[in-house]
Symmetry: C2
Subunit: 372 residues, 2 copies
Amino acid sequence: MTHSHPLSNGIIRNDRTMSDGRTIRYYDTQGQTRTAADQRPQEDQPGIGELRLDSLVNEWVAIAPHRQGRVFLPPKELCPLCPTVGDLLTEIPDSTYEVVVFDNRAPSLRAPGDGWELPDRLGPQTPNAPAAGKCEVVCFTSEHGNSFADLSEHQVRTVLEAWRDRTRELSQLDFIEQIFPFENRGEEVGVTLSHPHGQIYAYSFLPSRVERMLSAAQKYREDTGRVLFDDLVAREIKDEVRIIARNEHWIAFTPYAARYPFEIHVTPLVPVADMTELSPAACDAFASVALEVLKRLDAVFGIPMAYIAAWHQAPVRQGRDLLRLHWQITCIRRAPGKLKYLAGSESAMGAFIMDMKPEQSAQQLRDVVLGS
Amino acid sequence: MTHSHPLSNGIIRNDRTMSDGRTIRYYDTQGQTRTAADQRPQEDQPGIGELRLDSLVNEWVAIAPHRQGRVFLPPKELCPLCPTVGDLLTEIPDSTYEVVVFDNRAPSLRAPGDGWELPDRLGPQTPNAPAAGKCEVVCFTSEHGNSFADLSEHQVRTVLEAWRDRTRELSQLDFIEQIFPFENRGEEVGVTLSHPHGQIYAYSFLPSRVERMLSAAQKYREDTGRVLFDDLVAREIKDEVRIIARNEHWIAFTPYAARYPFEIHVTPLVPVADMTELSPAACDAFASVALEVLKRLDAVFGIPMAYIAAWHQAPVRQGRDLLRLHWQITCIRRAPGKLKYLAGSESAMGAFIMDMKPEQSAQQLRDVVLGS
């Protein structure tokens, strides 16, 4: 059975169920039908992990030991994110696709049973909870050798629509608090599959950074009556020196207090809480700035830049008028042969030390010559 | 000129001034005199960096671009942390040493001018401040090829006394809020000098993790009237399954909600705010547990384990009755060929996902066979 959902911009989502019960969603722009069946044998889904409170800092840690024992590993020469060709059965049963999103085979977080509730946090007495949430994989293109920066604007628009669709749908699950689409790119950040793809983590708790952003925004609202992020963006526009790229709807800049040798924030000029609130014009205009920024990153050292590209969105149920959508890209490479490591000060203390001024990396990013 | 300071346990500290005005401190147990002069040419000290507020999360970031231009680099075959032999001039002018602590040549943080003050944090309007603080280097032994785990108990006792002495003295500087002795070990965490050494960062602000620990401890005190860390340790003792090593004065365990494949906390059984408050008996008993823990880590995979060993102490001026001294050792190796990378969820969201139960890594650490 295929379920079809029409989305914005002529994009249609077709859902199919995989052999082990997971859902795969095809996002298409040419009215394709998607009927290919998953021919792999049925298989039990792994169990659910647990949330334990790290009471020293009052933060949840997800423990998912079932991930270690995951059975399905495709042969090395077979990329599980390419379309299925003949009897080389991959995660994508069809022989073609534009963009797909499917449930992660070994999710760190998954749908809990009925009546799931996050316990109050009160030191070591706090009980564990099932690691509720959702983990999905987003394949940006069927072209194995490409990367996000190689996509066409049309393709980026489809990826954005898939992210928006997932944000909208996952927001409706009553155990979800935060939806986080992201991409890890490069072996330096631990990526083992080179096929261009990202992930979506939907958390049943507020991650530490979101709590800290929310608390900073709340305090700023109390002190000034204003929205912190809007004032940050106004400062970047006024200062100009850290701006990397912009168009009518989006701006990209190295933040004033960057923590990584190359860190870029990309945000819409009309602020919104999350992707679902972007105007059609803002959606259409995202690709040109996104592609420019990623191409500039690759051009800085003339080698593909390893990065983490993280979508910060307002939480589903709180702070909707305080936190703003932005795309944070962080790169740990300082020079062709040098990485910035998170050592004692950063890792154990959370105190970041930067050897490079953000104005300097902004200059380097603006100065590169982009091919046509 | 040499200044001598008698410390505990028959240890004497001798201070000398280096060519560029920095101080080197020799910690000795045999009544040595230290008169060797630094024969390197005089050299200007680098300037001071700046603290910028990352207002999104209301945290200070230190920006130290002067570190990039540092001039002194010893020739590759010369370790700058070995004693000086002949005309191979290193950071340590003497031809022998037990333990030395000297001011970092390219410090991220340094003593500010008079009247330095940390600005109030209020969004993007917050002014920058000079990056006040102190950065010191601690050489654990003159033996280049050793590591901390190879030290004798006598040597560890001297290192501990040096850490205690630095904590005591740095606490007296009016611009210091937090004193953080730590060791980064292994290329996997970015270490470029293999000579066994650690560092001390003394911050003029509360690092993010300390703020979060303090806030958790305050809330716990309000809710229960009790000290959070003491209850955590009590739970570990009761549960037993995560304990790695212990003696009459110290206990080492894998914490209940560990964030790394191998994470160990070591803490005195009589809680103290910082190292200066340790009893003589606790000081003497530290080495046996510390050495056992580090030897077990190296034995797990039969290769030297890369780690960050971080001393958490109560801040200098607040929370002295709420936060407790503990030594947190985190290792990113999951298996001989596998590292845990901090990717999207951990790095951008601060939400840690663990593939391994802490009870499982505790078991592995207990099961290794230690050589004599």
